[in-house]
Symmetry: none
Subunit: 200 residues, 2 copies
DNA sequence: TATAATAGAACACAAGTAGAACCAATAGGG
DNA sequence: CCCTATTGGTTCTACTTGTGTTCTATTATA
């Protein structure tokens, strides 16, 4: 199913993605043709059929303006991967769980949710039991709050400060001290983009 | 049921939305026809029927001016009433605004959303800029965090402690002191049930 | 030489339109 | 209160147009 796309197919797919962000309705084959510099919608149709086979486009059974991209995941739910507590690996949840997340609290990039254990970020307003939304990334800017893996085993949620020689992870709890590591000890898993808490 | 609209149907729906904001009564089919450049209300009726099937318009059983939009109000959005800062009235937002709220952060009872201004609840992990979800209620149990109106004018977000003789409102900020009132000065607007924060 | 890409024609079906005739609701006059 | 006229929604059928589908043949590309 997921065989690799030819160059032209990739090009068409990219165009569809852009069009999708910009317009309410998918384009017609004729519109696509002129946008891509083709003069035969028959040829285009064949290409699109390939995208359908690849699982990237909904099969359009005679519908007009039916070139719809397969919608990527539910737009309002994210997977809850487990618990995060300073100094322990992320504790996975037994069965796969998901949670509703408002679009305001996430980004367009892939995100996941963790539940916080412990008080290491209490002064940033992140409490025990809160859910945090994390954008999956392997780099961060200084000052961002990241989920980082130390020595490949211990996961932690901290504010990051990177210098050429070392990485410092700052807890937001005056009872705890910043932790210093060499850059190759720390692997960034993602960056905090949202947080939510329930009081009942 | 919720299949996607054709281009014409979308156009009609958009027009209805705009008309809805502007006028008291829905338009007649004839009015719609001339507005949309149609000359047959029969055709229009067919389109509208499609909108009814899609669940966007109330079925209009022979009623006059019966093209009523279905009250949208997904069960996942709540109205944002304004800002709350200790010691000032709730500052209303100009135009009616709504926000997506996961069911986990709300209750089944009527709720609304406020945005927090200031640091009076910082030690409870509620920061400047956070959105809070409040269940509409006029009573609270001791220890709950409430939106309360003081002397009918000043709204505030505080943890409540009620005794027979007085009401104490505790801020969660050691720089501020608890406030004491007589019970008839304080009217409870709602109880905090959820909170969310965006980091971007 | 095989695979990808293209053009073009012929076709089929969905979307949109018009118009007429038919009902249902309301308002006004006896 | 009933009768009737008028307004406005409902239901058809027929037609036009837009747009996806299929095919066959030809040209690039690797």
């Amino acid at each position: 199913m997921n065989r690799s796309l030819t160059r032209r197919q990739q090009e068409i797919y990219d165009f569809l993605s852009r069009h999708n962000d910009e317009f309410e309705h998918p384009p017609t084959l004729d519109e696509l043709c002129s946008a891509l510099g083709l003069s035969s919608k028959g040829s285009l149709h064949k290409q699109i059929q390939a995208l359908v086979d690849a699982g990237l486009v909904e099969p359009m059974n005679n519908q007009r303006r039916g070139v719809r991209l397969v919608r990527e995941e539910d737009d309002s739910t994210l997977p809850v991967l487990g618990y995060i507590a300073a100094g322990k690996p992320i504790e996975a949840i037994e069965q796969r769980e998901t949670i509703q997340v408002p679009s305001l609290l996430r980004t367009n990039k892939p995100c996941f949710v963790l539940q916080v254990r412990g008080d290491s970020m209490i002064e940033e307003g992140i409490l025990d039991g809160d859910h945090i939304i994390v954008e999956q990334r392997d780099q961060a800017r200084n000052g961002e709050i990241v989920v980082a893996l130390i020595d490949g085993s211990d996961a932690t949620l901290k504010r990051i400060e990177q210098t050429p020689g070392e990485v410092i992870l700052h807890p937001a709890n005056s009872a705890m001290s910043p932790l210093h590591f060499s850059p190759d000890q720390v692997s960034i898993q993602g960056v905090l983009v949202g947080q939510m808490r329930s009081y009942h």
